[in-house]
Symmetry: C2
Subunit: 168 residues, 2 copies
């Protein structure tokens, strides 16, 4: 795979094309455990003087356990393709299915030691988790609480320092 | 002031030019209270299906009290200008100084009812606060804790739904 490094700020426009639909692949592959899930929400910015990518994962998700222990994650963004696999990885749990295998994904080593990425996407982020916090029920617009959290399954927000960002 | 609406994703590149230095003006002007402070950190993204701007404010700041009660805020981004005023608003407290007056800022009504913006900037965000959460000491890279929080003054992260984004 070719990897064309791009400016941090340049990635946002492409990322916005994928969010909230059809989404992007969040991949954790560390310590012999791996899982991929589809996310439709994310943020990018400068926090603590660092370029960050913020992703949200519900505690009920299989990926949550992996994110809690892994040092790194990658976000793999296909543009105008892989929609069926995005839908599949957003509706199946890694508890029941090896989604990497089921989707026929070819994982490649990232630029960063210990990070994997999914071959065939258009935009990649390799991140090291530097912070996590919570979506707080009492502090969220009640309309959004009703809409997104009927099961009180409030997201954890993971802040990844963006170590690498490139086009595939 | 002319206001040229832009795509949400387009604003990110300009915002990144201002962050972390020289920064941008965070303005709260509601219920007869107002204050402006300079911020160097922010994020943009899609969360809860909404376009959001996330800003961080320490509890020790005068702006914090205003953010806690206000429904809206604006981010006013000058590009390649107003550096001295950015430095001034980042080093003085609104407790001691009316920074709007000291800087000679001309406040204009925003597009959104109840929001004010600072005349003469290049990029504007008008936001309604829809969530807030905390930077959590135990979950933050210890190096960043040491670097940014010697006084345990951990930021609150405010998520603003971006109601309007335009160039001035």
């Amino acid at each position: 795979m070719k990897r064309a490094k791009i400016e941090f700020s340049e990635g946002f426009k492409d990322l916005c094309k994928a969010l909230p639909q059809p989404g992007a692949f969040l991949l954790v592959d560390e310590g012999g455990k791996r899982n991929v899930m589809t996310i439709g929400w994310a943020s990018m910015g400068i926090v603590w003087g660092e370029p960050v990518l913020e992703v949200l994962v519900r505690p009920s998700r299989h990926t949550f356990g992996l994110m809690e222990t892994a040092k790194h994650f990658s976000l793999n963004v296909p543009l105008d393709k892989l929609q069926k696999k995005l839908a599949f990885c957003g509706s199946r749990s890694g508890r029941d299915t090896d989604k990497v295998e089921a989707c026929g994904f070819h994982l490649l080593p990232g630029v960063t030691q210990g990070v994997s990425v999914i071959d065939g996407c258009d935009l990649y982020f390799e991140c090291r988790t530097i912070h996590k916090t919570q979506v707080v029920k009492e502090n969220l617009d009640p309309k959004l609480v009703r809409q997104y959290y009927p099961g009180d399954d409030f997201h954890t927000v993971y802040y990844g320092k963006v170590l690498e960002i490139y086009r595939g």
